[in-house]
């Protein structure tokens, strides 16, 4: 009985592990094959003569290289901006008592429930009218709606775990509350900021719907969109595309595996956004 149960358990785990990893490993293997071999039939499980050509192509093609750089710039900028403004708001919610506090918290939670997808058409028209289409700034600003609410709640919770006595000591010494925030709270909140930053980076790096609508001119394209526009729209070179997939995948998977436990809780919160 116990044996049967054990084998059933390991059967389920092995099956699901296969489902999870097989597509990724297949794409990984394909990325080291020349384009012709990538679509050979019957398929070749491992490349005959592994080559880095596909990676070299993706990383040196001017349009793709620019888009990779754009992705990096946009992701880092939107991470920085969102952590900064969310930290201020999170601090206000964690440490101040004020009249509209609960109302504002529910308001932000409510905004969090709005699916961003529904906003793409009004956002497109709005940005077209103020001349901000096809700009990285528009992406940094619009990406904020994906991550600010999540970061506010993450950081609010983090600040609440810090004993109040720490700031009170600083306040008694004559610091202003803002001063106490900058010089006492910020330095010891680095672990919280790190989690918020990694989650923000992941959301920005993976985002596709907003940039494909708001910014698809070659010079202002991000990598996820470039994969869609350049490699796949007319004729797919699967060798290049699989290499591109792995390049897009590496930063998030590495961060995820590295900070697994803390990420999971944050991502579960963030899932409301989907």
């Amino acid at each position: 009985m116990i044996l049967l149960e054990r084998s059933l358990i390991y059967f389920v785990i092995a099956t699901y592990l296969f489902i999870t990893l097989a597509p990724l490993l297949w794409v990984l293997s394909t990325s080291f094959k020349p384009n012709s071999e990538a679509i050979s039939f019957p398929p070749q499980f491992l490349p005959d003569a592994p080559t880095m050509d596909n990676y070299v192509f993706v990383l040196t093609d001017p349009k793709l290289a620019i888009s990779l750089l754009n992705s990096l710039v946009v992701s880092l900028a939107s991470t920085g901006l969102s952590v900064a403004v969310s930290a201020l708001a999170g601090y206000a919610f964690a440490r101040f008592e004020f009249r509209a506090k609960n109302l504002l918290i529910s308001f932000i939670l409510g905004l969090f429930m709005i699916p961003v997808v529904i906003n793409i058409i009004p956002l497109y028209i709005m940005l077209a009218n103020i001349g901000l289409l096809n700009s990285l700034i528009a992406l940094v600003l619009t990406f904020q709606i994906l991550i600010i609410p999540l970061n506010i709640f993450l950081l609010k919770n983090y600040f609440e775990t810090i004993p109040k006595e720490l700031e009170e000591a600083a306040l008694i010494d004559g610091c202003s509350k803002l001063h106490a925030f900058l010089h006492v709270i910020v330095p010891i909140s680095m672990p919280g900021f790190l989690i918020a930053a990694i989650l923000s980076f992941r959301f920005s790096w993976n985002e596709f719907v907003l940039p494909v609508v708001l910014s698809n001119r070659p010079d202002a394209m991000v990598f996820q969109v470039a994969l869609y526009q350049f490699i796949s729209l007319y004729r797919i070179d699967w060798g290049y595309l699989t290499a591109g997939i792995n390049i897009a995948l590496v930063p998030v998977v590495v961060l995820m595996l590295f900070f697994q436990k803390k990420m999971i809780r944050g991502l579960t919160l963030g899932a409301v956004r989907g």
Binding site: I13, P23, S40, P115, I121, P149
Partner: protein, 298 residues
Amino acid sequence: MLQSKLYLQPYLLIVPSLAILVAFLLFPLIWNVYLALHDVSLTTILGDWKYVGLKNFASLLQDGDFHTSLYVSLIFVGGSVALQFFIGMIVAVVLNQQIRGSNTFRALFIIPWTVSAVITGFSFKFIFNDSFGIVNYGLGQIGLGPVSWLSDPGTVVWSLIVANMWHGTPFTIIFLTAGLFSINPVVYEAARIDGATKFKSFLYITLPLLRPFVIINLILITMWSVNFFDLILVMTNGGPLFSSTTSSLFMYRQAFEFGLLSKGATVGFILIAMNLVLAYSYMRLLRSQDKSIEIKHS
């Protein structure tokens, strides 16, 4: 003076975040209604917009492709939610048995959820390719004929559901794992002493205690599937014709493939209504379960 400055301080700290959220999230949402009542297309985007009343709604209701999209949405959402929940529940329960390396398995299982929809879409487009895809090769090896996974209007939605299952199930695994962690093992011990089998204690103890998590999980993955379209855009572009165009993708295609921004906005309005119903039920259930979840979750 100083007093009022102190009084304003928390508000000033919140203003930057709130301004961004109102400008790019709340305002567009409301403005969408205005757009649905006017005639805006890619060519008139900077010009004058004519007020057309409910004409957009009327033409949408008569549009056969829109009806198709509602039907496709129904299958896509229903299939995705059922598969993700069923598989997610099994894996979460299995991982919760005392087995060696369950943390490592959890870390590996979450990977598909951390990669983007675009990457998921391309990977499965490759795997499901009619002529050189590895799935058809596998079927051939066991003597089954090739299936047109992405080009047959009858199967294409199911291929999308499988890809969405791969991408989305990890969330259910993790969410339900959090729920399972919250159950005190003592209750199982008591049931075991009373002679209950594992299956019985799952049915009569685990499931009822897991109920709040199950409900919230179901609502979240439903909302998510209703709005999710980047995966489909990448895999099939909604085709062949409209056979894999869900309502949210229909909105995108009307606006950015055919340039009919107002028609898209009208679909958006209908999607907002669907989401409001889901969000409302979510909030209500969350509120009634608030206390228990908060404690268990942290």
